[in-house]
């Protein structure tokens, strides 16, 4: 059977257009949108499995992510999104098990990470964009299907004596419900942990009134009244989420295709370039900052920004960055180190950010900022080493400084003949939070409250030495040392164990507290990724390996 891994020839494309959806349809009706999942069994991204019973693979989820994103930008009039199934008596059976069974570890991990990010994005829409998702579970809601429902603001289940919500991963597959299921059960829905234990070990799940009693769903409705009751609830929610909307005419902004120039593994977008050196196992990721014209548009206010639409630098550049990160993850698995550069003018970036912040009461500008935050969080969660390189012509200031702060190390050139600057703006101080709720600046200076206090509100450009003193720089190098020291650092980095680096980086990047979102990645995904490589799941006698096969799994009973 073919292994759906990066070794497989066709790279995954993360850009989709609504008219080419294979698995979803969306009906817009004023403030309510109905998103219908009807997965085409023959439409798998890779060979070797059928997407039966609304089970999904990465391709299905890429479309969902596209729907969620476009909902916010293209349909700002929508307040409530009803998520339902187009298949009778099945809402969603979760991730396709045969797909998981035949996938490499790397593919499974990337798949789970992407689906987690999509669910976080969907979840964030309720609070941040006043677009509430409602899961209308009109049938069996199993595993990842229930986890998708859990990401929604409210869950309604059809009460027909048969339809149940369930997390059968542990009892049936020997793995975890890894798309936020366990976390959202106890953290979000506050299901009692002992009941969550019973629920998560009962393969057939829980239905009817008990599902409501245990807070697994918000309510159950009889089959004959299901659509009607859900519609009534959706209308009521429209009221709730229509209060205190941000300003601006809620006219959609089309997310036009990015259409990068592709050459081998390299991708050149308008503001972003990704260049891969397979032999060195490094990539260079360069983002070009905004121009004076971009600043001028923003200074005319939110309406002007909305008119610029998908061409607005802050939206376009970050969409490009997002796409580049996804390509890096899924289509370039051996690249271990990414060299991040920001080109442009530091002061212009700060001016840009100030103008963006000044217009943030406008719904579109708000969406742009939220999107930037999500892309940066995608970077935080990317299991590659990032070195930010601030040499000649660098523009690590404001939103672009976030890239340096997201990086594992920041090398800055100190050369009086080619002076570079680093600068802080308002966007470094709360608008683009990490998954665990802190800013990247707070995380970087977690033990240095005085330095942090001294920096906050400082809008002056910093000389390299001042940036170094402020704790923003990892290594300050003069022009004599730069080339050699950077080269050696790169060579050293790519020689280390990729697994250890991933683990180390994920631990060091998130100093400070946890939130449910950070727990999903740090705790749930980490455990899941461990279980995925354990023989009890994926060994020759593991439960995931043998699912659907004639043999029964046999476990190594040792607790580790």
């Amino acid at each position: 059977m073919q292994q759906p891994a990066a070794s497989s020839p066709a790279p995954v494309d993360f850009e989709v257009e609504p008219e080419h959806y294979r698995h979803w349809s969306v009906a817009y009706d004023g403030a309510i949108a109905r998103v219908t999942m009807a997965v085409d069994p023959e439409g798998g991204l890779r060979e070797g499995y059928e997407l039966k019973l609304n089970s999904y693979d990465l391709g299905v989820d890429i479309e969902l992510a596209d729907i969620v994103r476009r909902m916010r930008f293209e349909h700002p009039e929508v307040r409530v999104v009803v998520l339902r199934s187009g298949i009778d008596r099945v809402f969603c059976a979760g991730a396709n098990i045969n797909m998981l069974g035949q996938s490499t570890h790397a593919w499974k991990v990337n798949f789970c990470k992407f689906t987690n990010e999509t669910r976080c994005e969907l979840e964030e829409a309720t609070g941040a964009s006043q677009q509430a998702y409602v899961a209308a579970c009109n049938g069996t809601t199993a595993g990842g299907g229930y986890e998708l429902a859990l990401a929604c603001e409210e869950i309604y289940l059809q009460d027909d004596g048969n339809s149940a919500v369930s997390l059968p991963e542990v009892p049936l597959l020997g793995v975890l419900p890894g798309t936020g299921g366990l976390t959202r059960l106890v953290d979000k829905r506050k299901v009692r942990r002992d009941r969550a234990d019973v629920f998560s070990t009962t393969a057939e799940g829980i239905r009817g009134k008990k599902a409501k009693q245990w807070r697994l769903v918000d309510d159950v409705f009889p089959r004959s009244k299901f659509d009607e009751k859900v519609a009534v609830r959706a209308t009521a929610l429209v009221q709730r989420y229509s209060k205190d909307l941000p300003a601006g005419e809620r006219k959609g902004v089309e997310l036009t295709a990015l259409a990068p120039e592709v050459e081998g593994n390299d991708r050149r977008y308008r503001h972003v370039a990704l260049e891969v050196d397979q032999t060195a196992r490094t990539a260079s990721l360069t983002i070009t900052g905004p121009t004076a014209d971009d600043v001028a548009i923003l200074r005319r206010g939110g309406e002007a920004a909305q008119q610029a639409g998908a061409e607005l630098w802050a939206l376009r550049a970050y969409r490009e960055l997002d796409d580049a990160l996804l390509h890096l993850r899924v289509n370039n698995p051996t690249v271990g180190l990414v060299l991040v550069r920001a080109k442009g003018d530091a002061q212009t970036v700060l001016d840009h950010d100030a103008a963006l912040v000044a217009a943030r009461d406008h719904w579109f500008v708000r969406e742009v900022l939220l999107h930037m935050g999500r892309v940066l969080r995608r970077m935080d969660n990317t299991s590659r080493s990032f070195f930010a390189l601030g040499d000649r012509g660098t523009a690590f200031a404001g939103n672009l400084l976030e890239l340096a702060l997201a990086a594992d190390r920041f090398y800055l050139l100190d050369d009086s003949s080619a002076p570079v600057h680093v600068g802080l703006g308002e966007l470094n101080e709360g608008a683009l939070p990490m998954a665990h709720g802190l800013t990247r600046l707070q995380t970087r200076l977690y033990g240095e409250q005085d330095t942090l206090d001294g920096l906050v509100g400082n809008r002056a450009l910093l000389e390299p030495s001042a940036a170094d003193d402020a704790g923003l720089v990892t290594v300050l190098l003069d022009d004599i040392d730069w080339d050699d020291d950077v080269r050696i650092a790169i060579e050293e980095r790519v020689s280390l164990s990729p697994d250890a680096l991933t683990g180390m980086e994920q631990n060091l990047r998130f100093a400070g507290p946890e939130t449910p979102e950070s727990k999903i990645y740090a705790r749930l995904s980490a455990w899941q990724n461990w279980i995925f490589i354990r023989p009890n799941a994926t060994g020759p006698e593991g439960a995931l390996t043998l699912y659907g096969r004639p043999e029964r799994p046999s476990f190594d009973w040792q607790r580790v």
């Binding site: 009460d159 004596g161 048969n162 393969a203 009889p222 089959r223 004959s224 096969r549 004639p550 043999e551």
Partner: protein, 477 residues
């Protein structure tokens, strides 16, 4: 281990041979369930015939031959009880990885949920069929047939008792909850349907009733036979006893249809144009459509052709094959493939799948062979009557709602066709609303002893040595 004996405690509120009086907790649970059951029977059973004495058999002992006692009884007074076939000395697990090791007299925790699901699914069919058949008494073709209908009904009720006993005894609170819900679901109800498709199809005339007892009860026989091989000993022994009752239901269906066929052949010859309908009978096209309809819905009941559940149930010894012990030597079935047709890229091709994952299909094979035999007998009847007509079973790919053929369209010969072709012809292949209208128009009640409706031949003999004109149901007591 439960003390079972051949002697039945008949004086108990709930007749049984499982020593219920020694298990006060269970006895209390079942006695609490009893009034709810009776209420369900009153609401959803053949209510309008409750006051009539009916010549029924009741189990009084689990002995071979001695278990059936015939007498007049009013249905609500029927002694629904709990009977297990006495255990052989050292029961073993009959199939799967642990074949040959001692059977479980209690539910192993590892298999608790799977067993509960198996039992609930089986249990749900029992009250469902009573609900489906509740109005048929009003258009019965004879007192003999009316009595058979009620015999089937009360025994389905007893089968529910058998399953509820297992749920209450072995599955704690969950089991009690499931037992309650069995009385709450309703056949054909949009909101609370019965679990399986065929048990939500309407069955409002006697042609469907006979087809149901012929084809759908026969699925029941094979499911029960597979569970009779279960490593969970109480389940195995419950279903063994149910099989003895089930045989009569199949007899009702098989001979009922055979009598219709015989009569239709007579009418065919009687009519100058060979037109059965002109003589008020049931024409062979309609009989064939009925076979096609109920046979295929019953095929669905066996579950998916390629099924990880089926594999797990077999592997863990919960459910065997038909006559697992007698017919097979290799009870592990870990190696070996099963070849079956699948649809791939718009074509039907043969594919090998691991035998264990095809256990539903293996059971379906036994069922299909059994149905073929009956069809053969009916065709013999036709031949003997001098009719040129022959009846057939449609392909098992035709008209499916479950499994790998669902969602594709086949003709009754099993040829893959387009949805347009299917829709243009389906009225020739399956029951249509006009069929119902016609059947209801000819089905008038016939309650006089020894009289039979025009569209059905009398049976060759009566029940328990009684003549065919015996008063099997006393319409007025």
């Amino acid at each position: 281990m439960t003390a079972t004996s051949t002697s039945v405690d008949l004086d108990a509120k709930i007749p049984n041979n499982v020593g219920l009086s020694d298990d006060p907790k269970l006895q209390r649970a079942l006695e609490q369930w009893l009034p709810k059951y009776l209420e369900w029977w009153h609401d959803m059973g053949p209510t309008d015939f409750e006051h009539m004495p009916i010549f029924l058999r009741t189990a009084v002992s689990v002995d071979r031959g001695g278990w059936a006692n015939y007498d007049y009884v009013k249905m609500p007074d029927y002694r629904w009880g709990i009977f297990l076939t006495p255990n052989d000395s050292e029961p073993t697990i009959k199939c799967g990885d642990d074949a040959g090791t001692p059977a479980w007299s209690d539910v192993p925790g590892e298999h608790r949920n799977a067993l509960r699901r198996i039992i609930v699914t089986q249990a749900d069919t029992e009250p469902a069929s009573v609900e489906q058949q509740r109005m048929l008494g009003h258009v019965a073709p004879s007192l003999y047939d009316l009595r058979n209908l009620f015999q089937v009904n009360v025994e389905e009720g007893r089968h529910l008792w058998a399953m509820v006993y297992l749920l209450q005894k072995y599955f704690g609170r969950d089991g009690r909850d499931e037992a309650e819900e069995l009385l709450l679901r309703r056949s054909g109800d949009e909101d609370k349907p019965r679990i399986l498709g065929a048990f939500n199809q309407p069955c409002d005339h006697w042609l469907s009733f006979f087809a149901f007892t012929m084809f759908t009860d026969r699925d029941g026989k094979y499911q029960l036979a597979a569970l009779a091989e279960s490593g969970f000993d109480p389940l195995a022994r419950s279903t063994q006893f149910m099989l003895t009752e089930e045989a009569h239901h199949l007899f009702v269906g098989d001979t009922g249809l055979q009598r219709i066929i015989k009569r239709s052949a007579e009418l065919q010859q009687l009519d100058p144009n060979g037109d059965v309908r002109a003589q008020g009978g049931i024409d062979f096209d309609l009989i064939q459509r009925t076979i096609n309809y109920w046979y295929t819905y019953s095929l669905d009941l066996f579950g998916g052709e390629i099924s990880s559940n089926a594999s797990t149930f077999f592997a863990s010894g919960l459910k065997g094959r038909y006559h697992e012990t007698r017919r097979y030597e290799d009870h592990k079935a870990l190696t070996g493939d099963y070849r079956l047709p699948v649809v791939e890229n718009g074509k039907v091709v043969e594919k090998d799948v691991p035998l264990r994952t095809a256990m539903n299909e293996v059971l379906r094979d036994a069922y299909v062979a059994d149905c073929e035999k009956v069809i053969g007998r009916w065709n013999k009847t036709l031949e003997e009557s001098g009719s040129p007509t022959r009846l057939t079973l449609p392909s098992r790919l035709f008209h499916r709602h479950q499994g790998i053929y669902a969602g594709h369209h086949f003709d009754p010969q099993g040829k893959l066709i387009t949805v347009e072709q299917y829709e243009a012809n389906v009225h020739r292949w399956l029951l249509v609303p006009e069929d119902n209208d016609y059947l209801l128009s000819i089905m008038k009640p016939c309650y006089e002893p020894g009289k039979f409706a025009n569209w059905i031949a009398p049976p060759t003999k009566g029940i328990e040595g009684r003549p065919t004109d015996f008063e099997y149901v006393k319409m007025h007591d």
